[in-house]
């Protein structure tokens, strides 16, 4: 039966070895991302956020547990299947930019399409993706000319241009000021809602999380997901106060 989740992690664990020492990075993590929602995971430096994203995006295999994409177990998938998935279905926003400094952003964002489409059509879609994230004016610019905020947005366009069903972004709000951060987070949220895709991001800064539909905190290898209830918002009640005939 279909779970409806775009991505699901079930009891996923992973550890790293440094010499004879094993460090558990992820312990029994379970998490689902549904279409139309943006899920943000917060953690301190070294908490394993990036490892979690790599495992979720199929770039690294867990030691135990199951990672499924649209109910398909990535562990049981052929190499070709996995490569196709990574190329077409999962948009991983790379923060490092293009390999070549000469590339204009219109072409950089068009690159992921070139295997399937000719340059003219790929460029047209690239232009649409750049416009969608709000940096149409960066089409002719080179990576080194962009601000941190523009780089983030171009990276998101680069991941989005192939119209993936899951968008994965590691720390999209790094080095951004409050207003740029609001813009990027608002974009990720509206992208999830309007394009009906799952968005999974990590953030080192809690204020970035307020736009996410669901949040979690990673520490000591475990993921803590608070309940979505907001009791504090509703606890203003009208009641008579001692010494007052009619509270006014």
């Amino acid at each position: 039966m279909s779970s409806g989740a775009q991505l699901s992690l079930e009891q996923v664990s992973k550890s790293y070895w440094r010499g004879p020492h094993e460090t558990a990075v992820l312990k029994d993590i379970s998490l689902s991302v549904f279409p139309g929602e943006c899920v943000a995971v917060w953690g301190q430096r070294g908490s394993g956020k990036t490892t979690l994203l790599k495992v979720a995006a199929g770039l690294e295999a867990p030691e135990s547990g199951v990672v499924s994409f649209k109910d398909q177990d990535l562990g049981g998938m052929s190499r070709t299947g996995l490569v196709r998935l990574l190329r077409e279905e999962i948009g991983w926003a790379r923060r490092s930019g293009p390999e070549s400094d000469e590339l204009e952003m219109l072409d950089y964002v068009a690159l992921p399409l070139l295997k399937r489409q000719n340059l003219r059509r790929a460029r047209r879609r690239s232009a649409a993706a750049l416009a969608r994230v709000g940096v149409r004016e960066c089409s002719k610019a080179r990576w080194e000319d962009l601000t941190d905020g523009e780089r983030t947005l171009v990276s998101i366009a680069h991941a989005m241009v192939r119209q993936p069903s899951l968008l994965v972004v590691d720390d999209p709000t790094a080095n951004l000021d409050v207003l740029q951060r609001e813009e990027v987070m608002g974009l990720l949220r509206s992208t999830a809602e309007q394009d009906w895709l799952g968005v999974l991001i990590t953030v080192p800064d809690m204020p970035s999380m307020v736009h996410a539909h669901r949040i979690g905190s990673l520490s000591d290898g475990r993921l803590l997901v608070p309940s979505g209830a907001s009791p504090e918002r509703d606890n203003v009640v009208e009641f008579p106060v001692r010494g007052r005939a009619a509270p006014g």
Binding site: M206, M209, A246
Partner: protein
């Protein structure tokens, strides 16, 4: 810090009656821990100092209450007082935290319970963060009005405090866990050698 100046500021922004002001105080300063009843004592105090006054009353058709509600507005003296407060210095809040005191005064046998307490506070912080989430996507782009940015900055300050709290709780929990584990192992060794 009492709710007095916050309530005065809200009345200056827009006159309102007690319940309305309590609701607005909660919306704007929810996690400052002002009790909803604090609004009424603040209004009493502000009235006695002639910083706010009644601007008439309004019967509420939506409830069956007999008494009409008093609408409060700021007096010119109240506006002056608020301006003065705005220009004055702001003190740093004292850190007076129960968990800090418990840790400072605890004994090794309290560690297990303190770890639990730290964990549950961490959950509370995250639940509060979850409650601060934006209800809807904001239509993107464009510069924001200062009033929006001001709300954003204050919310950031509040969330950053939660974050600092969670970071400290996680570190404290890790260290206490390590020491507690060592202590349990030492006791087990003692048992064996006995």
């Amino acid at each position: 810090m009492s709710a007095k100046n916050a309530v005065l500021g809200l009345v200056i922004e827009r006159p309102g009656y007690g319940y309305d002001l309590a609701r607005r105080l909660q919306e704007r300063f929810g996690s400052s821990g002002f009790a909803p009843t604090g609004v009424y004592s603040a209004l009493d105090q502000l009235s006695s100092e002639a910083l706010v006054r009644s601007a008439g009353s309004r019967a509420d058709a939506t409830t069956e209450r007999a008494a009409p509600r008093t609408i409060y507005e700021a007096t010119p003296k109240g506006v002056d007082h608020f301006e003065e407060w705005m220009l004055g210095g702001s003190s740093l809040a004292p850190v007076r935290d129960e968990l800090y005191m418990k840790i400072a005064l605890s004994k090794p046998h309290n560690l297990a319970r303190l770890i639990e307490l730290a964990r549950s506070q961490e959950e509370d912080c995250l639940a509060r963060l979850a409650s601060l989430r934006e209800p809807a996507a904001r239509p993107g782009g464009g510069p924001r009005a200062w009033s929006d940015v001001a709300v954003l900055l204050v919310r950031d300050a509040e969330i950053k405090q939660l974050q600092a709290r969670v970071e400290w709780l996680q570190r404290a929990r890790a260290v206490m866990g390590k020491l507690n584990g060592a202590q349990i192992r030492a006791v087990a060794r003692g048992d064996r050698s006995a």
